[in-house]
């Protein structure tokens, strides 16, 4: 199975231009024989939207969204956008399209609202973490900060995910002598979850800058043994293509049967106990 990560530079607040970027990338990926093409978080809008969030929000039925879904023909496509719900609530969402239909929508659960981030001021929190079936196997999607909460990939792994897609808009920051520490932290998260759950983890990060903040790119794939096989370039646009061998999931899980031995009942019981304790204390 050939996967592509479209490491793009989205134009802030310009859905029209970003649609063009998406279509161009999809065309190129199709020529390269890519089976599944993944765009970064908010690929249709850019990241630090502030009040533009209101203007770039799209309903599922909107023509622009439908036109991209229609592109998922012979190739599965995952992209990010500002979703307007039927209740007019706005979500930082990821849409998985296959055979010109919506296969799944993930709404970002954990919205960073600290330091340089201000997401919960504009977006509603997503409320479900589910894996879903695709023609390549069971897939789970998380958006950026989601994966920094260990419970999110854990739930997806328990729910059967063999491939974890993580769409990000991660900036270069905190640079000292050690270099790009944010990337190192990302890779270690991707590798840990891949290895611990015996699944592929795919990291799709954007490039380009918004008001002086540079997104570093460096998209990558960690295999079910927790190894990074190949990484995309830093700071430059790229269609990053690599192969997934789904049989590696089977081999990794036989060699390291952590998923088999996981005691879900114990976890649920203990979490319920903790939840009760917290409520009483509250």
């Amino acid at each position: 199975m050939k996967i592509g990560i479209a490491q793009v530079r989205s134009v802030l607040g310009r859905v029209d231009k970003n649609i063009e970027i998406h279509k161009k990338m999809i065309k190129q990926a199709r020529q390269e024989g890519v089976d599944l093409l993944i765009f970064p978080e908010l690929s249709l809008t850019g990241y630090n939207l502030l009040d533009l969030t209101f203007d770039v929000a799209r309903k599922m039925a909107d023509e622009e969204i439908q036109s991209l879904i229609a592109e998922a023909n012979g190739i599965d496509v995952v992209f990010g956008f500002v979703e307007q719900s039927p209740e007019y609530l706005l979500f930082n969402s990821a849409l998985y399209a296959s055979e010109q239909k919506v296969r799944y929508i993930h709404r970002k659960i954990y919205l960073p609202t600290y330091g340089m981030y201000d997401e919960a001021r504009y977006f509603g929190h997503g409320s479900s973490i589910r894996s879903f079936s695709t023609r390549f196997g069971q897939v789970g999607i998380l958006i950026c900060e989601d994966v920094w909460h260990m419970s999110a990939p854990y739930i997806l792994a328990q729910d059967g995910a063999e491939i974890l897609i993580v769409m990000a808009n991660s900036p270069a920051k905190g640079i000292q002598a050690e270099g790009l520490v944010t990337r190192d932290a990302w890779y270690s998260i991707m590798q840990n979850h891949a290895g611990q759950h015996g699944m592929y983890t795919l990291f799709a990060n954007r490039v380009g800058a918004e008001d002086g903040v540079a997104f570093f790119g460096g998209s990558t794939v960690a295999n079910p043994f927790g190894e990074i096989e190949k990484t995309a370039s830093l700071f430059t646009e790229e269609l990053f293509i690599t192969q997934l061998e789904m049989d590696q999931v089977r081999r990794a899980r036989f060699k390291m049967p952590l998923l088999r031995d996981e005691n879900l009942d114990l976890v649920i019981r203990e979490l319920q106990r903790i939840q009760k304790k917290r409520c009483r204390e509250g």
């Binding site: 009040d51 640079i175 790009l180």
Partner: protein, 282 residues
């Protein structure tokens, strides 16, 4: 370079991955200039280290034929600085202009002879920035800033003067880090080693006027701003007098780091609840 290495050995936490920082700054500078429709940049070149580093970064980002350096001496400006600026111009082969600001400054102060050195210095800084913005329109070149993080935090600069610019590549680098980058970028040694000076009056030096060294204050700022150490912890590392002096300067000069305060009347006030990045739509 010996001086730079000595400083970084004393304050290793200020050391940068210079290659990575250069990549980030040049990539982002190029994008932030080009996406708003400019192909060239312009900057004032004093002969000091900050403007030299901005120049060398700009040349790396755009090539020498798309960078314009402007020397704007006053009659009392140090001739050595003018020579140092020339050395940087010769080394980088950029287009350079020299405009003597003496006539307009002297004309203005002829009837304001009571003006002290600070007023005169500030007027000169604003005159220089006024010239840069005029030449910016003439050459269709965006004005690049030269203020480092140390002087921005301390407020050691002239509002609407040297502190102004369209894009500032140095604003997140402490002076000690600017020195490290200068050595890496090949800025002529005499520019790096000479005592920093605003050159607003004869024999002025930053460290003499401020009452502490840049290495000392950069170390304090790192722990204070970046690490957010509590006061007790700072007191175990630095002189209490220095801490107080620096804290007061940071607070008192906040006004220089923000856009003018707007008095709220309507429901969407610019900067308050009318929130957009500069990179809106680009």
């Amino acid at each position: 370079m010996k001086m730079v290495e000595e400083h970084l050995e004393k304050a290793p936490f200020l050391r940068l991955d210079e290659e990575l920082v250069t990549t980030i700054l040049t990539t982002t500078l190029r994008e932030e200039v080009e996406k708003v429709g400019f192909n060239r940049v312009i900057l004032g070149l004093s002969g000091g280290i900050d403007s030299a580093v901005s120049l060398y970064l700009a040349v790396r980002a755009f090539g020498h034929d798309r960078v314009i350096a402007v020397r704007m001496p006053y009659k009392t400006s140090s001739p050595a600085s003018l020579d140092d600026a020339q050395t940087a111009i010769d080394d980088t082969k950029v287009k350079a202009l020299t405009l003597d600001i003496t006539p307009q400054i002297d004309s203005y102060f002829e009837v304001r002879s009571e003006a002290d050195a600070l007023r005169r210095g500030n007027k000169m800084a604003r005159e220089r920035m006024s010239i840069l913005y005029d030449l910016s329109a003439h050459y269709q070149a965006l004005v690049i800033g030269t203020s480092n993080k140390t002087e921005l935090l301390l407020g050691y600069g002239t509002q609407f003067g040297d502190a102004a610019s369209a894009i500032n590549p140095l604003g997140d680098l402490y002076k000690t880090q600017v020195r490290q980058l200068a050595a890496y970028l090949g800025v002529p040694e005499q520019i790096i080693t000479k005592p920093p000076s605003a050159d607003l009056w004869e024999n002025q030096t930053d460290e003499g006027e401020l009452g502490f060294t840049y290495l000392e204050v950069d170390s304090l700022l790192y722990y204070l701003v970046d690490q957010q150490y509590p006061r007790e912890k700072l007191c175990s590392l630095f002189r209490e007098e220095l801490i107080d002096q620096v804290l007061t300067r940071i607070r008192k000069n906040q006004y220089k780091r923000v856009t003018p305060v707007i008095l709220k009347v309507g429901s969407r006030t610019i900067g308050l609840d009318f929130r957009y990045l500069r990179d809106w739509g680009v």
